[in-house]
Symmetry: C2
Subunit: 220 residues, 2 copies
DNA sequence: GACGTTTTAGACAATGGTGTCTAATTTTAC
DNA sequence: GTAAAATTAGACACCATTGTCTAAAACGTC
């Protein structure tokens, strides 16, 4: 395949590159198919051909369908969590214009965590297969959505102590911020429509305006 | 086939009572199974035994699985829409205490339309089977969630003209109201946990407080 | 080039589901 | 009570899927 090459460092690792590529290809294809068809509706054959791989290879890597499904879910959850906290770290702690910066942050949040493929996948899978695999999504709930609330709350608390906001309950404010950001997008996300960038910005601006009206300190 | 319809017309309504009961029983059982297992994961056998009916009877009433599924979805959508507009009609148009009355309304909305069995079913099914049956959910989207927005907007508009609220964009305010009501419940609904009445009330109160802070007219 | 590993296509049994058919039984209408 | 209609259990063909197995081919490494 890629016998051409640049600096090859370690043979042992190199040998795994082919395997690793296949693994990733399978994981990716499986995610797409599971997301579209659900667990029961997805067939290994479809996943294999979507991954350009023989069925047997799928079985070689992931013993059985259940196992593959769990690997896919964990993979997507890890990516989603990483993206979530990466986006969280771009929260405007020293804002120039609080309203503008919060809106931009809201756009990033929608774009990177809610409206992307992983976000769609997780909403769909948690809802449709959550009851069948309680333990699987439980850890994600605690480390993902569970933590974003407290993390955002802490960030709002800092803004509040700086006098930029006037918030009594930080946890509630954090949840409300997230809810407001989603307010205009929920119909889209529910029906699987990906909103345009312009829609994202409008939604973010509406959300932040209302949030600020509710939580801005009294004008000087 | 044809002779069947002749005789059915000839028969009085009484004979349909038994049939009708079976139909409803099947519909109910199918809703439960489809909701739990998804379309692909649900089997006619399971539905039949959940309905205490033979498999053949299911096929007699609803030719095929697809057909049964669509009937179930339409049934649930009708119920959900009826409940939605019934709840909407209890909107406080002449509130004693706007905050209290709005909160009570929010509780009714959560309780009757969002956290009940039909709400759960629709969220799950729209998300998991929406792409497979676009036309099926499209009409619901327009007549249900699509209309609740405009209806709520109209109601807020009246409150605004009475001077009880100060809203610039009624549609946005309506969506935000709904979003705020859901803010504290989203985690629960996503994971299929039914919130307690106390949680509903707290969520409603938080939502309305923020909504009022953002949209209450300046104090006299 | 030789070797071990991985991948592949295809056959395969086992399973479980759909939808049909039949013949017997129960329910309902009059 | 009788006749028509509905329901039932069971058998059935058919199909899709899972997971295993095999022998051949491709690949990477030395």
């Amino acid at each position: 395949m890629k016998s051409n090459s640049d600096t090859i460092q370690k043979m042992s690792v190199h040998s795994q590159r082919g395997q690793c590529a296949k693994r990733l290809s399978i994981l990716e294809a499986a995610a797409e198919v599971f997301c579209r068809q659900g667990f029961a509706g997805a067939s290994i054959d479809e996943i294999a051909s979507a991954a350009c791989v023989s069925r047997q290879t799928v079985y070689n890597h992931y013993r059985e369908k259940d196992n593959l499904f769990m690997a896919v879910v964990e993979d997507v959850m890890d990516r989603a969590n990483a993206m979530l906290f990466s986006t969280l770290s771009s929260f405007p702690e020293n804002p120039e214009s609080l309203e503008d910066d919060l809106a931009a942050f809201a756009v990033r949040l929608s774009h990177n965590c809610i409206c992307n493929q992983d976000g769609k996948f997780l909403r769909k899978l948690v809802l449709s297969e959550g009851e069948r695999y309680p333990h699987l999504f439980e850890s994600w709930r605690q480390h993902g959505p569970g933590k974003i609330g407290t993390a955002l709350a802490a960030l709002f608390s800092r803004l509040s102590h700086k006098g930029l906001l006037q918030i009594d309950d930080f946890d509630v404010a954090a949840r409300q911020f997230l809810a407001l950001v989603n307010a205009d997008l929920q119909m889209n996300t529910l029906f699987g429509v990906t909103p345009t960038e312009a829609e994202l910005e409008t939604a973010a601006r509406n959300a932040v305006r209302t949030f600020m009206r509710a939580y801005a300190p009294p004008a000087v």
